[in-house]
């Protein structure tokens, strides 16, 4: 039950994009088409789960024994950057179809702040290994939900006669704000 709570809280109640407002650059950058946002979502789910697992291990088995917790920012950035490179090389050789499906989004995610945020938050919440895995899965699923919904709205908006001053990002930000208000409705569910 606790694991379900962690997943659900990360998925809807504390949605990383619409409630926490982390990783907004990619949220606006790749949400103009549903196809690209789906590609991005899968790449995020993949990278976020693996990188948060590795960061958890490094934090508790390398940084904590040496009392170097203050170095976690530098170490996590180093870890995630190398990890994404490694995953890219591995996929290119072993699963080329998946590599092609994720395309450019895989290397782009190296600098996605949500990945780093999840690694930090899982440690700040003092989750154990399993809980932190469930947490990162929930966050990335929430990311996918928000960006795909948003992409559908933006595809529809492309057909609407929007006043010139609101075209492009202004109307996108207004839409995101409205979606964020809607997601606030989830807070308090299951007493979370």
């Amino acid at each position: 039950m606790k694991l379900f709570g962690i997943f659900f809280a990360a998925f809807l109640i504390n949605n990383i994009l619409l409630i926490r407002f982390i990783a907004l650059c990619a949220f606006f950058g790749v949400s103009t088409k549903v196809d690209t946002s789906v590609g991005m979502s899968f790449a995020v789910i993949f990278v976020m789960t693996i990188s948060s697992a590795v960061s958890w291990l490094i934090y508790y088995f390398i940084l904590t024994p040496f009392h170097l917790e203050f170095l976690r920012t530098a170490v996590f950035i180093l870890t995630i950057a190398s990890l994404v490179q490694l995953e890219e090389l591995y996929l290119k050789k072993m699963i080329p179809t998946l590599y092609r499906a994720m395309g450019i989004y895989l290397p782009l995610i190296t600098t996605n702040c949500a990945i780093l945020a999840v690694a930090f938050l899982a440690i700040d919440y003092r989750y154990n290994f399993l809980e932190s895995m469930i947490y990162s899965l929930g966050v990335s699923a929430g990311y996918a939900l928000a960006i795909i919904l948003f992409a559908y709205v933006r595809e529809r908006m492309a057909a609407a006669p929007i006043p010139r001053w609101f075209q492009g990002f202004p109307i996108a930000f207004i839409t995101a704000a409205l979606m964020s208000l809607a997601f606030l409705g989830f807070s308090g569910m299951f007493g979370l």
Binding site: A74, V75, A158
Partner: protein, 261 residues
């Protein structure tokens, strides 16, 4: 002491990751045809997708596999086609220039209304509400989505119909995707014969709602059977049959929906 440990730990981690990446780069190396790099250098690099593949990289890979033609890069034109042919070691075929064509010929006063539409003035939106006020379920809606989608300023609207400037058109296909009724297609410029209708309704229905629609009478097929065919009550042109005169069919078409541009 703390500083020393920090430096050591970070340094060792950096070294381990670097070693791991170096090893992986070697172990997971994918042998790539060197021609892919050469092709990428000559292609425009815009990843416009007009060739029908996912981007310039995909196109170059398909060229090497033989799935794409050397003249396939629409945006690059003849110059890029020659460069590709030189890399691939084949003779460049005459570059087959393509342009967009509109498959509807009903001007504003020829369109039969069925309802009064007041709503968002884009073809995309009008098409979602069953074609707005237009009786024909296939024809041009005339709200200029194609004109707005054209990056080369090659489309202008005349009497509610888009007119494509063949000089400016690069056959990028943006208007083909933008048109919700799918009445724009890409044809070879050297073959200027077009069926200016997309209606798949039966002839009797078309006669009631449009004076210039294709009624599927097959007179064109009788006149020039090499080029014309009728499927789903609509005449279609086989653009691979260059050099066949279509004049007989154009003259005999009872609704004059086959036109020479």
């Amino acid at each position: 002491m703390m500083i020393l440990i920090s430096i050591l730990v970070l340094g060792v981690m950096g070294l381990v990751f670097a070693g791991l990446l170096g090893f992986a780069a070697d172990y997971f190396r994918v042998e790539e045809d060197p021609r892919v790099g050469q092709l990428m250098a000559v292609l425009p690099g815009g990843n416009c997708g007009a060739c029908g593949f996912a981007g310039c990289r995909d196109f170059s890979e398909k060229l090497i596999l033989g799935d794409a033609g050397v003249g396939g890069c629409v945006a690059g034109g003849a110059k890029v086609g020659e460069a590709i042919a030189a890399i691939m070691g084949v003779q460049a075929a005459a570059f087959d220039r393509k342009v967009a064509t509109v498959h509807c010929g009903a001007k504003l006063d020829q369109r039969k209304p069925k309802a009064h539409y007041t709503g968002i003035e884009t073809c995309f939106a009008v098409n979602m509400v069953d074609g707005g006020g237009l009786a024909c379920a296939y024809g041009c809606l005339g709200h200029e989505d194609c004109q707005a989608a054209c990056p080369f300023d090659a489309i202008r609207m005349e009497e509610g119909l888009p007119v494509i400037d063949p000089e400016k058109c690069t056959a990028c296909g943006n208007c083909v995707t933008a048109c919700p009724r799918k009445i724009i297609s890409i044809r070879p410029q050297a073959f200027p014969v077009v069926v200016a209708c997309s209606s798949q309704d039966a002839g009797a229905v078309v006669r009631k709602i449009c004076p210039v629609g294709c009624i599927g009478c097959k007179i064109c097929v009788k006149q020039v059977p090499e080029v014309f065919a009728v499927s789903d009550n609509l005449a279609v042109v086989d653009y691979t049959k260059t050099g066949v005169s279509c004049d007989a069919a154009i003259d005999k078409c009872p609704t004059k929906c086959i036109v020479r541009l």
